[in-house]
Symmetry: C3
Subunit: 467 residues, 3 copies
């Protein structure tokens, strides 16, 4: 039997814990600002009940399924790629999670799930083979309840804005529908995510470029038209509330090409003739172009680079992407971002928020850059690094060079809707704990720490992401 | 005067220390599982008394001699390369250690030696010029005693299995002799260590390949015969109790070659005509082949890559290898291991345990891979990183992504027989301390922590190394 | 109202804090040994009053101005590049610092400034818009006082030796003047800093080489003459008290060229014909040559490599170098330094002190090298890493491999004269805290920790830098 402990994730030292409690207490009731994530907006537009515990908490969350897979559960036995699961199948998936609950020890996944189950669904037993059915039933019963529909949870979670990435060709009708729905007072906005249009090596790039042209009503048969189409779609996103554009490539290089070279490669790529080196050069050039457009139209530019996507091709072929088989790469930013920063680094209003899965760059590259360029912000820990000790390493690595005002404020980056409050609370607790240490080491006064804790939650993300 | 403190290496915080004490207490009496190391098996087969304190604790242990060398002691003055030392020489070597004892402050070497001297030999004075002779005498007196012969110490140390690397051409007679000795109830098994046969750039590679052919009774003049010989020697090791094959190369790349290309380079290399690039390509191909063989025969594959061996060639020319002049290299695994993982990553029963001296890969590459692939395990801290704070960094970096079940369990990797209990105890204390912090931060319940602490010591290494 | 807290920067845990207090207390009164830095020696030779608080504490200190710039203050609004500021301008610069004081939270800059203001100038109010004028006036009043002239502060700071880098062509007259001044009993010595003469890609390299020839009275039109000129200037520095030569290049490679190849590139470079690759090869060769010269003449060789200088060319074009726009690069040392270490690694009296902004190399490369080669010392945290938590990471990363005797002892590396005591005190407090943890974890006895703490402050830097 358990309830999540009120002191969870606070420092062990009694003096620091007391300070952390006070700092956290002052932020615990503040709304959740969500500047970047992947929740399906249709969820809130449709406001249908969630179907079952497994489909809500297991199957779509690659943080959860990947560890079960490593422990020997086949992806098909987790319901992946099977659409809506019959109850027996959902129950079996849930049971697999419960039986293997011990493997999640020390992971934030365990922590988030425990918080979700306890605080949202009132579950108080530890997951195990013995409690599998009862906990499934308890969550399932709640899901049938009106109070557990997406919009009700959005209210209950106290979310003030929810940003979700969308394809540049998306008509954003779901966002418009929500925006104009008189029965809905939340705020859900899209983020422009154009990766597939910027990488000629992506499968069916030709087709994507044609679709982009149709969406923008521009002929993308020429490089000039292609650029116009991207600019046009960015404006379309802006007019639907977007404040940011998000980019994820294997590296972060931004070497610009001359116009004629860009044009030449673009035509080669459309004809299917571009070499791999040309495709990469074009992608890097386009990242530079995205920065230029951000200076022109004001969309905040966020980078999530340095991942080998679909590291296990057989699984990708069978189950698609985003199944937990993406593995980080070592990455460098100092030289990679230099072309963009030389040109736009002190451009008024340009915001470049850089996330990383390679934590070595925090103290070595990102903090030093954010400590000179007014445009650069260090993104908070992302994905594998969005975890208690890693968050502590982040603050320790970054704060000494740039304090707190050059960091992004918390970003949940999740597709697991119900995990949002737990993720925000985890970050708030850890920032409170970090600040408590500074106070106890006489590096900061407690009134200053309290102001910083609150600003990291509300002010900082709003300023950085122009919300 | 000292006895090693019962609370050594536990967290300073009183609450955490109390939990750590309890967790450690429950593992302190468990046997030592040793899945990988370099103790000479002849030691136990012959069961002769150790000759003297310096030859036991100083001369053969490059952890010890390297720091003395850095402090200005010539390697010849440490007895290196001189065979059995006369008593005066041994006493002089011991004195050099004692005089410079202060340089070992904060190192695990100090901690291990202190524990060995105190707990095995009853020494209670701090080493120094003043205590050099007395401590030498005290240890020497014990060494003459029957109770301090290798087999008696093996029993006293409570070792359940001791794995030691062996050359593929080794006839393993020593292991057989031990195995069939009715007066001996321990378990000493070989690990297959074929590096020199896989790297055409190794000195006298031709000669090695010929010897390999003789050992396997296969003509290794062709690539096909060479592969057969390796497969045959692996089977021979399996039949002598081996459960793992160990590999150490400068990098971990595993790019396979086509058969005809592999055959072509093999013949060039035998003829002494292979370029450096070809030699490297062949070595990487062979690492892929080793994974294939592991899938076929079940030997656990362990990697100890990323070291520049014999960094100081003049010392290597004079004193040989393994004298403390190996220096780690930056390394990457995400792309390096991809070919092997694409092909064998979810092969049933394939175990790939990856060790590193580059701690940046723990959170960035190894934990994410071990959190998806059922075959991949993250090796515990190795060599320079087998040290208290580094072990803490390891658990902090890895556990949040993969918990504890995707790690290897403790591996002592030592050639210093008497350091084995101290090394295991150090790891147990540090894991207890790490778990105690999780409990005190309400991230884990104490009963869960206790189960994990015990499993890391017994269950996990047995499963991972198929012992 | 504040006074800096007597327990600042000590560990939070009460037991550790008590030990840290005792360890620090024993070093707090010891003199400041300054083996490397960038204070203008003319300051002490002229002994003129400092002009105003902004020119003393803000404008010339890129640690301070870079964060203000990132927060949106233009460099021209900080007085950069404007020579002596009129009082109104100085006051405005000071106000900009005060208004944005909050952005420095958690940075060592805040900590140093607070300590300087409080302990040197008696300021007890927190900086803010409200206190800007009063604090400006308070500091300005003191600056007019005889007791706040540079020489008086040098005495008050208890500096025993102050090393400052100088150009190889410098006539070192300022150092001579100080040395022969009967009214001055301090010690200010130059360090040889030849970067611009070793990199053919530097602007106006030809001109530099000609000036070098004039300074040495040697014809530098040939490679042989160039080498002779460098050797001659090193001797000149030695005769003026220098004990070290300092080097800062983008990487640390030391691959030697044959004499004829070096000669060929040298002549190409003089003629403006060297390719970029040749210029880099020559620079790396010259770093090897510098090591050779250090073996010959005894100057300690210090490396500060791995920085992309002038990362933002528009700012460099406008304001010059050293304005806070240098960004660290990933770097490797194991292979880079191998040529030098193969040849000179065990040369008697050769000292190679390696600093880094890439903290990943501490445990992976530098500590392992310093733990074998008697010539190699690991430099303490430099620049962005000279900060409380980073210093803790340094000790944790390095000590377990090489203890304390293979590290450099504290180096302030500053051009901010008044920050010297605060920087030394910060390091002493953090080392005391680190040692206190080892004592509390029973890894070291307190008497040993006390000896180490004192040695790190006085003995170690004196030995390593041959002071």
């Amino acid at each position: 039997m358990f309830n999540v402990h009120p002191d969870r994730l606070f420092p062990a030292d009694a003096n620091q814990r007391g300070i952390a409690r006070r700092l956290h207490g002052a932020t615990a009731g503040l709304p959740l600002v969500c500047p970047h994530g992947h929740v399906e907006p249709r969820l809130l537009a449709d406001n249908q009940p969630f179907s079952d515990p497994a489909s809500l908490l297991v199957t779509p969350d690659h943080y959860v399924t990947r560890l079960l897979h490593a422990d020997g559960v086949a992806l098909e036995d987790l319901g992946i790629g099977q659409g809506r699961l019959p109850e027996a199948a959902a129950r079996a998936v849930w049971r697999r999670l419960c039986e293997r609950w011990a493997i999640f020890a020390a992971t934030p996944v365990r922590w988030w799930l425990e918080a979700e189950l306890n605080e949202i669904f009132g579950v108080t037993s530890r997951l195990s083979a013995e409690t599998a059915d009862a906990t499934f039933d308890q969550v399932a019963t709640h899901l049938a309840d009106e109070a557990f529909r997406p919009r009700a949870l959005y209210e209950r979670f106290n979310i003030s804005v929810l940003t979700t990435t969308a394809d540049p060709c998306d008509d954003l009708a779901v966002y418009s529908a929500l925006d104009s729905d008189p029965s809905w007072s939340g705020r859900v906005i899209p983020a422009f995510r154009p990766d597939r249009y910027l990488e000629p090596s992506q499968p069916e790039w030709n087709h994507s470029i044609r679709r982009l042209g149709e969406a923008a009503d521009v002929d993308t048969g020429s490089y000039r038209g292609y650029i116009e189409a991207l600019e046009s779609r960015r404006r379309y996103f802006l007019s639907h509330g977007a404040t940011s554009a998000d980019h994820s490539h294997p590296d972060a290089r931004t070497d610009p090409l001359g116009d004629s070279e860009a044009d030449r490669i673009f035509r080669s790529a459309l004809a299917g003739d571009a070499t791999q080196a040309e495709a990469i050069a074009f992608r890097r050039h386009m990242l530079f172009e995205m920065a230029r457009m951000s200076c022109d139209d004001g969309l905040v530019m966020t980078l999530h680079c340095g991942v080998r996507r679909d590291h296990h091709p057989p699984s990708a072929a069978h189950f698609g992407s985003d199944i937990g088989a993406d593995i980080p790469l070592q990455i460098e930013f100092t030289d990679a971002l230099r072309p963009v920063l030389e040109r736009f680094g002190i451009h008024p209003g340009f915001h470049l928020v850089v996330f990383t899965l390679d934590e070595t760059v925090w103290s070595r590259e990102l903090a030093p850059m954010a400590g000179f360029y007014p445009s650069v912000y260090v993104g908070v820990p992302w994905w594998f690094l969005d975890a208690p000790d890693a968050i502590g390493r982040f603050r320790a690595a970054v704060s000494e060079t740039v304090g707190f005002t050059r960091t992004s404020g918390f970003v949940d980056d999740t597709r697991a809707f119900c995990s949002i409050p737990a993720r925000h609370d985890m970050a708030r607790r850890l920032d409170a704990g970090f600040l408590a240490r500074l106070v106890s080491e006489h590096r900061l006064d407690e009134d200053e720490a309290a102001a910083i804790a609150a600003d990291l939650v509300i002010g900082q993300p709003a300023r950085v992401f122009k919300l």
